[in-house]
């Protein structure tokens, strides 16, 4: 039964990683850049929710929605100011800029909200689920997280496959210059990608802080990196890949925390990344690109 508890908790954590990984994988697929600041947008989202909910006493659901809208704007503004001018520049420059943005968000939050840890009140109020005569207890946060993750995944897949904007995203990720020739607004599509990713990041942030109720300016950094790892393991650019990668990573992390060592769980997660990169660099569901010479 212990194992099952750890496993379910792992799925819950993995769902959060999956939602964050979506932001990475979409931006990587479409803008061909690693948006290092994605994890920090998540942290900002959590702070905004915290301010609305705990300090202003606004209804939790409304707080989260407001935070998601704020994050959407922040994501688009970041893209506009920092990344758009660098389109077409070498990838090292873009990566360093993204790190700059990530760092900027962390430090501006530090100045605004202070270094001390905020204790985040869970937004989920339904009672936990008890199975097998109470031997297996699944927390309400886990249920909401897993459910929300599946909903988001289905909604996003439908959006990409059924809407014009979604098809434009696919086109831009395949070939940016050809998309321009076909009359697709590439800049608008990339901005949209950032908007969606940041919108989802706010939800991931709130879910993360509901499950692990401490909030500091660096809250988003490590989950952000792990979500990127999840996106790589699942196959960067692939939405189901982000989902699978996130779940694998979450379960792996929780099981190694429980059975091997809490302090070395991160090391184990990253070793899996390295092994994955060696065995199949394109990830589980990714397609390998042939470089044109």
């Amino acid at each position: 039964m212990d194992f099952l508890t750890y496993f379910v908790n792992g799925l819950s954590l993995g769902s959060i990683y999956a939602i964050i990984a979506l932001g990475y994988t979409m931006v990587y697929g479409i803008a061909k850049m690693l948006n290092f600041a994605h994890g920090d947008v998540l942290m900002i989202g959590s702070y905004i929710t915290f301010v609305f909910m705990s300090q202003m006493g606004i209804n939790p659901i409304i707080s989260v929605l407001l935070a998601a809208i704020c994050c959407t704007f922040i994501g688009v503004i970041i893209e506009r100011i920092a990344y758009k001018p660098l389109r077409g520049a070498n990838s090292l420059a873009v990566l360093i800029t993204a790190i700059g943005v990530s760092y900027f968000l962390q430090n501006i939050s530090l100045l605004i909200f202070g270094a001390n840890t905020k204790s985040f009140k869970s937004i989920v109020t339904i009672p936990p689920l008890k199975l097998f005569d109470g031997q297996l207890m699944i927390s309400s946060e886990s249920i909401v997280t897993i459910a929300l993750c599946i909903i988001i995944m289905l909604a996003l897949t439908t959006f990409i496959n059924k809407t014009k904007m979604g098809q434009a995203m696919l086109a831009v990720s395949e070939d940016r210059s050809a998309s321009t020739l076909m009359g697709i607004n590439v800049n608008g599509t990339i901005a949209m990608t950032f908007a969606i990713g940041s919108f989802l990041a706010a939800f991931a942030g709130v879910l993360l802080c509901s499950a692990y109720p401490t909030l500091t300016p660096t809250t988003g950094a490590m989950p952000g990196i792990k979500a990127f790892v999840a996106a790589v393991i699942g196959g960067i650019g692939s939405i189901p890949g982000a989902f699978i990668g996130g779940l694998i990573l979450g379960v792996l992390e929780n099981l190694s925390k429980a059975y091997i060592s809490a302090q070395l769980s991160d090391a184990i997660v990253f070793s899996v990344l390295i092994i994955m990169l060696l065995v199949k660099p394109s990830g589980i569901l990714g397609k390998s690109n042939i470089e044109k010479v």
Binding site: A93, T97, Y103, Q106, L110, A221, M222, F270
Partner: protein, 367 residues
């Protein structure tokens, strides 16, 4: 064959300017210090100047010369610091002290950090740059976590190691605990000095300058400029990127040795060995100019000095660094910015002439 003469002279002049800069700065500090005119604040910064310069110069080898992004440079520094400090601290416990131990410690730090670099580099350097950034970042964090979790002690039966606590080491009465988990290593002998730092910096700079201007260095730069073309003339990407990465890691280890032996207590904090530190070093490199050795040293010294001089701004330091990263990158790399400069230059003939003369000079040089 005039060209080679000219080229060598130019290279020699640039190299000489770096050495002269270091030596003159050293001489000024020494003269002022002998007259007692150096404030205790500045005195405390002398060894850090050297440590950070070594870190910046060595990271420049990876980022500027090799064109790969490493975000775990502080992790390699941490490896060098801890391995060397374990050695000197245990020697001190055994009653052995002396400057020759410092030299051995430097070798230990360089070898272990270089080995760590090799181990990380072998799998990862085969992949594209973004992955290297993530894996090195992860590595840096893992090293910091491990350094915080380890308990290490010695007794007559050899080394004892645990991840739990001091008692779990099971040392005999004669045993001695060197690393006490999060408390780190206390009582490290104070071997570092400004003179030692300057000597190490000169050695590191010499190695990098000689490397860059040799067959290996040219191959590394060729891979950076065009990987496919470099392979088509028979250059192994894995081998040469690995050489650059390993040498840079090893130098970061040396900086770690210098750092560890400048303090009595060595603990692994986010501030000294974490992600923050790696970013700070990256800022030195970016601000000093990618591939510019002299620039890295100047940036490291100024950016170490500045926050100490302006204590009131210390809360804003990291915020300012982040803005510096973004702004420098947009100004130096954005395609539109380059075009804008072009427009500006056409509108104001003065700039045009100025820029033309600079460009003329630059186009003749190359790198």
């Amino acid at each position: 064959m005039d060209y080679f003469k000219l080229k060598r002279q130019k290279k020699a002049r640039y190299n000489l300017s770096i050495y002269l800069m270091i030596i003159i700065a050293y001489a000024i500090v020494m003269i002022l210090s002998s007259q007692g005119k150096i404030s205790s604040l500045l005195n405390g910064l002398l060894v850090p100047f050297c440590t950070y310069s070594i870190l910046a110069v060595s990271l420049n080898l990876v980022v500027g010369i090799s064109g790969e992004l490493s975000l775990g440079h502080a992790g390699f520094m941490c490896v060098g610091a801890f391995t060397s400090a374990v050695f000197t601290r245990y020697m001190k416990f055994l009653g052995v002290e002396g400057l020759y131990l410092f030299i051995i410690a430097i070798l230990i730090g360089a070898v272990t950090a270089g080995f760590a670099g090799l181990l990380i580099g072998i799998p990862v350097l085969r992949l594209k740059g973004d992955y290297l950034a993530i894996v090195t970042l992860a590595f840096g964090e893992i090293i910091k976590n491990i350094a915080n979790a380890i308990y290490l002690g010695f007794d007559e039966n050899g080394a004892h190691f645990s991840l739990k606590n001091t008692m779990a080491l099971g040392l005999s009465d004669k045993g001695f605990v060197v690393i006490k988990g999060a408390q780190g290593i206390t009582g490290t002998p104070h071997y570092s000095s400004f003179t030692a730092g300057v000597i190490l910096l000169i050695i590191v700079v010499t190695i990098i300058l000689n490397l860059v201007n040799s067959r290996t260095g040219r191959n590394i730069k060729a891979l950076r400029d065009n990987l496919i073309a470099a392979e088509s003339v028979g250059i192994s990407a894995t081998k040469y990127k690995l050489i650059a990465f390993t040498i840079a890691s090893s130098m970061a280890g040396v900086a770690g040795v210098l750092y560890a032996h400048n303090l009595t207590t060595l603990t692994a904090l986010p501030k000294n060995f974490g992600y923050n530190m790696s970013i700070t070093i990256l800022v030195f490199v970016v601000l000093g100019g990618m591939g510019r050795i002299r620039g890295s040293i100047i940036a490291a010294v100024i950016l170490t000095l500045l926050p100490e001089m302006l204590r009131g701004l210390s809360d804003f330091r990291m915020l300012i660094y982040s803005i510096v990263l973004i702004v420098v990158m947009i100004f130096t790399s954005a395609p539109a910015m380059k075009q804008y400069m072009e427009v500006l230059k056409n509108r104001f003939p003065v700039i045009k002439n100025l820029k033309a003369s600079v460009l003329k000079k630059m186009s003749k040089e190359g790198e």
